[in-house]
């Protein structure tokens, strides 16, 4: 694992989740999109035109989000459906939501006890970049940043309990 990761006021057990989160996301892209994610250059940024979110409830409460630009979201859809990029239409949100859903499911299945004790919400996708995400509490978060076909995707797990 060689991505740029960030622990945002998370405790040590949460820090141990970073490689698992990264592995979970990498596996989704390898198995379902047929591509390898790579490590970004330090300081790489993106304009998050698409944000997919899946809530977690139970033994782990929180929110997993995946942010990327529109071109990355369209290319993911193209690869998932096996169609040319110019044939991709309104199914982009559906595709990105499924990527987020599979990443969340794959992540919780890698942590002892969470597969049984943690439920996932249906995915929600926000389009546009001019928004602020407010959490109920001053919650910690872990973040994984990876490159998909040269474009940055940011995966954040906000942890409420």
């Amino acid at each position: 694992m060689n991505s740029h990761t960030q622990v945002l006021a998370a405790n040590s057990s949460h820090e141990n989740w970073i490689p698992l989160l990264e592995m979970a996301v990498r596996e989704v892209f390898e198995l379902m999109l047929g591509c390898q994610l790579t490590a970004p250059a330090e300081g790489a940024e993106t304009t998050p035109e698409f944000t997919a979110m899946v809530g977690l409830a139970g033994q782990l409460c929180g929110l997993l989000s995946i942010r990327c630009n529109g071109k990355a979201a369209a290319l993911m859809t193209s690869k998932m459906l096996g169609v040319d990029l110019d044939k991709v239409g309104p199914e982009v949100s559906d595709a990105l939501g499924e990527v987020c859903n599979m990443a969340a499911g794959n992540f919780k299945n890698k942590i002892a006890g969470l597969a049984e004790g943690c439920m996932l919400s249906p995915p929600t996708v926000v389009t546009g970049s001019d928004y602020t995400l407010h959490s109920l509490s001053d919650s910690p978060a872990i973040e994984v940043r990876l490159l998909f076909e040269g474009m940055l995707i940011v995966i954040t797990l906000q942890i409420n309990s």
């Binding site: 379902m32 998932m80 939501g97 859903n101 597969a115 049984e116």
Partner: protein, 135 residues
């Protein structure tokens, strides 16, 4: 291979998932797994699927677990009430990968269980024995 010898007709499959993208991925994975498919039927949840099955005969059902309106487990429970579908094998495809979910699905009548994310090879491993009546 035994499966190729017994598959004389294209398989009539019903894919149930609230994500249209995931329905397409499952269909593509079945084809990539070497399964000869007739035109595939689709439904967005268990209730829609029961309606589809009233009017169509299928050989195989692939079903998500978590869906709005009627989830996959409730769909399996109601399937015996559909005369021309009560013996059709159901394979669950879901992100919920815990042992209890697998046990619950299998005890409800599912014949197979595939965890997302998956490869066409994994689809083949789980679906071919079901179609061959070995699971």
């Amino acid at each position: 291979m035994a499966f190729r010898q017994i598959q004389l007709m294209p398989i009539r499959a019903l894919i149930i998932d609230d994500s249209s993208v995931m329905r397409k991925i499952v269909e593509r994975s079945l084809r990539q797994a070497g399964i000869d498919l007739a035109p595939v039927l689709e439904a967005g949840n268990g209730a829609e699927a029961l309606v589809v099955l009233q009017e169509n005969q299928v050989d195989l059902i692939l079903c998500d677990v978590n869906m709005p309106v009627m989830d996959g487990l409730e769909f399996i429970k109601q399937l015996p009430g559909v005369p021309n579908a009560k013996d059709v094998p159901v394979v669950m495809i879901t992100t919920e990968g815990s042992e209890s979910h697998v046990v619950q699905a299998l005890s409800s009548g599912a014949r197979g269980y595939i965890r997302k994310p998956f490869t066409p090879e994994q689809v083949r491993e789980h679906v071919v024995p079901v179609l061959a009546g070995k699971s």
